[in-house]
């Protein structure tokens, strides 16, 4: 009897706990819907893996800051739309001199920063100079080496003089955010012109943006957006499955896709990607200074199987650095076909018939460790031994990118039109083909885009023929959202994610 009474007490306690939990659930769902500020418009929750390190895109904020701020909080003179076309943003119009060396850019009038200050040509000049400054960590810094002077004849006009013609100049300007020149700290706060201003940043968790009342353009179609950050791909897709977010900017977990594809509550959109997974050889050091060795390694890798392992039936094979969306794309997948016998004979030709051993510096984050393990087992077939050396992202920058002290490494390259790096022999991969360098320079100085495209196609073919690197595959760009959410960009070009058109029924 005593026994039954005591177990009743335990059962009662358990029941109470469950009721408490259920009550909490009711509270939490009601508080979510009531916390929306503007009536009628929804707050959109966006899930991402790329929390910025700080809020500046010129001091190592990483791709994450581009995703949350570009076009949302900050705008440039020009912007890239989701398909990669250049449009005017803060610029009203521009003219180019006959010698193609002087750009005269007129600003739209009456544009205000979030702080209330009116945008002037001084702010634009300061913003460009911040990118080209010595301390700048902008990846685009060297694109602006051609700028020789910036003048501000009046508050609405910026005159940029170049030392050599640059056909991509306007395109490159789209990467420069116009920031209030009075602002000193842009790593933890912001002062931009975009449709949203920063509401709060909970480190390790989320960044909230709210609409800016004084915005010059169309008002956002939502009451604000919250970028929620996750540290691994499965936690991110789980969050969408368990209703914590509305949309995922770029899904990195193909297994979760099956859940979304078979469920009418979700929409899966396949966009055009520019993110390439590369096995980068240090072309300066033996044995990778030999073209035959690089080609042998490339041909020994079953890229189809690799892509399938990592991405299921998603993603695209590529044969060079160029994604299909770049104007100079060519299908070069079969220039270096998967052929183990070919690989063996190429190695023999290079005098390494018995194989060799190399160290592969592998960033610790996905998908690189798995790719490294796959390469290790593939290359074992041609007697090449891979030693996997795991390194953190910052070690990668100092050891591989900066000191160029490595044999081979894995890295993802996210930007479009980045084939031009193969024209720079000082770049970390050290590919040095004077002909390619010359073509890249000529393409930049070209008069027409047709000329530029023709020259870069030559570059494209040449780097594939030389196997300058081993381009393993093009990531898929997959946006998954709840079916009642619409208006989100799907291409995620250069990891930007314009949020102002997103809305929810």
């Amino acid at each position: 009897m005593k026994k039954s009474r005591r177990s009743l007490v335990t059962a009662g306690a358990l029941a109470a706990a469950l009721i408490l939990a259920a009550g909490l659930s009711a509270c939490s769902s009601s508080s979510k819907s009531s916390s929306n500020a503007a009536p009628g418009l929804p707050t959109i929750y966006i899930g991402s893996l790329y929390e910025p390190q700080n809020l500046s895109n010129i001091s190592g904020g990483g791709q994450g800051i581009n995703e949350v701020f570009n076009g949302n909080v900050y705008e440039g003179l020009f912007k890239l739309d989701d398909s990669g076309k250049v449009e005017n943003a803060l610029a009203d119009s521009y003219t180019l001199s006959a010698d193609r060396l002087t750009y005269t850019i007129k600003l739209k009038s009456g544009i205000k920063f979030h702080s209330g200050k009116t945008v002037t040509s001084t702010d634009v000049k300061a913003s460009i100079e911040a990118v080209t400054a010595k301390t700048s960590q902008s990846a685009r810094k060297s694109s602006f080496d051609v700028v020789s002077s910036i003048e501000t004849p009046d508050p609405q006009t910026v005159v940029v003089k170049l030392s050599a013609p640059s056909i991509s100049f306007i395109y490159n300007l789209s990467y420069i955010w116009v920031i209030n020149s009075d602002k000193t700290d842009i790593s933890t706060t912001e002062d931009g012109t975009g449709p949203y201003k920063l509401d709060s940043w909970v480190r390790g968790s989320s960044i909230s943006l709210k609409p800016f009342a004084g915005y010059w353009g169309a008002k956002p179609k939502n009451a604000g957006v919250v970028f929620k950050y996750f540290t691994d791909a499965s936690a991110l897709s789980n969050a969408l499955l368990s209703n914590q977010i509305d949309v995922i900017t770029s899904i990195q977990n193909p297994d979760a896709l099956k859940q979304f594809e078979s469920n009418a509550d979700y929409t899966v959109s396949n966009g055009a990607s520019t993110t390439k997974e590369l096995l980068v050889f240090n072309d300066r050091v033996a044995p990778f200074n030999k073209i035959d060795v690089r080609k042998a390694i490339y041909s020994a890798i079953d890229r189809k199987k690799l892509l399938e392992s990592i991405w299921g039936n998603h993603g695209t094979l590529i044969g060079s650095m160029v994604p299909p969306t770049d104007p100079w794309y060519l299908d070069l997948v079969n220039v270096n076909p998967y052929d183990v016998n070919l690989a063996k004979s190429l190695l023999a030709k290079a005098g390494l018939a018995n194989g060799f051993t190399f160290t592969l510096d592998t960033p610790t984050y996905d998908p690189h460790p798995v790719v490294a393990e796959f390469l290790k087992s593939e290359l074992a077939k041609i007697n090449v031994t891979v030693k996997i050396n795991s390194i953190s992202a910052d070690e990668w920058y100092t050891k591989v990118f900066q000191a160029k002290n490595y044999q081979a490494t894995l890295q993802e390259h996210v930007n479009d039109r980045d084939i031009v790096w193969y024209g720079d022999p000082t770049f970390y991969w050290g590919y040095n083909n004077p002909q390619v360098t010359k073509w890249v320079a000529e393409a930049e100085a070209a008069k027409t885009t047709d000329q530029q495209t023709a020259l870069l196609k030559l570059v494209n073919k040449q780097i594939a023929a030389d196997a300058a690197s081993a381009w393993l595959y093009l990531y898929p760009q997959i946006v998954v959202a709840k079916s009642n959410v619409s208006g989100y960009p799907i291409n995620g070009l250069n990891s930007q994610f314009y949020a102002y058109d997103i809305t929810k029924q």
Partner: protein, 326 residues
């Protein structure tokens, strides 16, 4: 006798706490200073010039001797200046503060639930040791201490968040405790995870203490003398059992804190644990140092409190020194 031995004992324990903290500070400093590579590297951009490298080394103090670095660091610590993160440039202490807003509630709630559950379950397991009910309870507690805490989290997420969608799989409301219900809601699975594992080891302990008490002479004697079981148990047994149990509680609270560190990673909660794992991966030394110091401080203070409470309840402990039998 009277108050003085207690206060003197307290003073001695306090001194011991301070010395332990100081030793921990030195160990943390030295271990992190012996690191391969240059902490200045984390500060540098991809195209840093030699002047920038020198400036960065100066900024982190890597150009000074180890002793000079230690003195600078210690004096900063005494002013509660834990430095700035290399990666985000934020002051370390406020970042730790906001992370603790998640880690502490997670730890304390889990701990209280686990402690209450295990006292009940442990007692029942001892009282019904030879019946199926007690055996099942003991079996569960055996299983619970052999299970990796992150695995429990993973399985709970799989079942309750992904399969049935009852709870969020991860994360914390963006306005934190401004949304108390949402905050508690996202802590539900993490708390359950910790409770399952922590209550197991505590249940085991409560069971063995209770068994001792139940079989002890004074219980048998007082029952033979006619007092009820309940009276005997509560008057004599409980007091005797509670003294060692409090020290166990202290240790368990410390391990709950560490359990929280791992569980936070499973549930992507932006607490101290996620911060530490990230800081280690990014070689963000100011953050690593700060978190380890704060955690050490908490662990030692918990131990100190448990010790003190124990000594207040049982004066006999005050006479025997910490170094035990002499």
């Amino acid at each position: 006798m009277g108050g003085e031995p207690l206060s003197r004992d307290l003073l001695r324990r306090l001194l011991f706490l301070v010395v332990s903290l100081f030793v921990a500070v030195i160990i943390i400093f030295l271990l992190l200073r012996l690191l391969p590579g240059d902490p200045a590297n984390a500060l540098l951009s991809i195209n840093a010039s030699p002047e920038q490298i020198a400036a960065a080394r100066h900024q982190v103090g890597a150009d000074k001797s180890v002793m000079a670095q230690f003195i600078t660091w210690m004096s900063a610590l005494l002013h509660l200046d834990f430095g700035k993160s290399y990666i985000s440039g934020l002051s370390v202490l406020p970042s730790i503060g906001s992370a603790l807003l998640i880690t502490l509630p997670l730890t304390l709630i889990s701990f209280v639930i686990a402690a209450v559950l295990s006292v009940v379950a442990g007692f029942l397991a001892a009282y019904y040791a030879r019946r199926w009910f007690g055996i099942v309870l003991s079996g569960f507690s055996q299983l619970g201490i052999a299970v990796p805490v992150f695995w429990v989290g993973l399985i709970l997420v799989w079942i309750f968040a992904l399969r049935y969608n009852w709870f969020p799989s991860s994360g914390f409301p963006e306005n934190g405790w401004g949304d108390p219900a949402g905050a508690l809601w996202s802590l539900a699975l993490p708390i359950t995870t910790i409770v399952i594992v922590m209550s197991s080891s505590m249940t085991r302990y409560v069971k063995s203490v209770t068994t001792d008490v139940l079989g002890s002479d004074y219980i048998r004697t007082s029952r033979a003398l006619g007092s009820s079981f309940r009276e005997a148990f509560f008057r004599h047994g409980l007091r005797n059992a509670s003294v060692p149990f409090i020290s166990v509680l202290g240790i368990e609270l410390a391990s709950t804190l560490l359990g929280a560190v791992v569980v936070e990673s499973v549930f992507s909660l932006p607490g101290l644990g996620s911060m530490l794992v990230k800081a280690i991966a990014q070689h963000d030394y100011p953050n690593i140092q700060g978190i380890l110091l704060v955690t050490t401080f908490l662990v030692l203070v918990i131990g100190f409190i448990a010790d003190t409470v124990q000594r207040i309840i049982d004066p006999r402990l005050r006479i025997t020194s910490s170094s035990g039998i002499k």
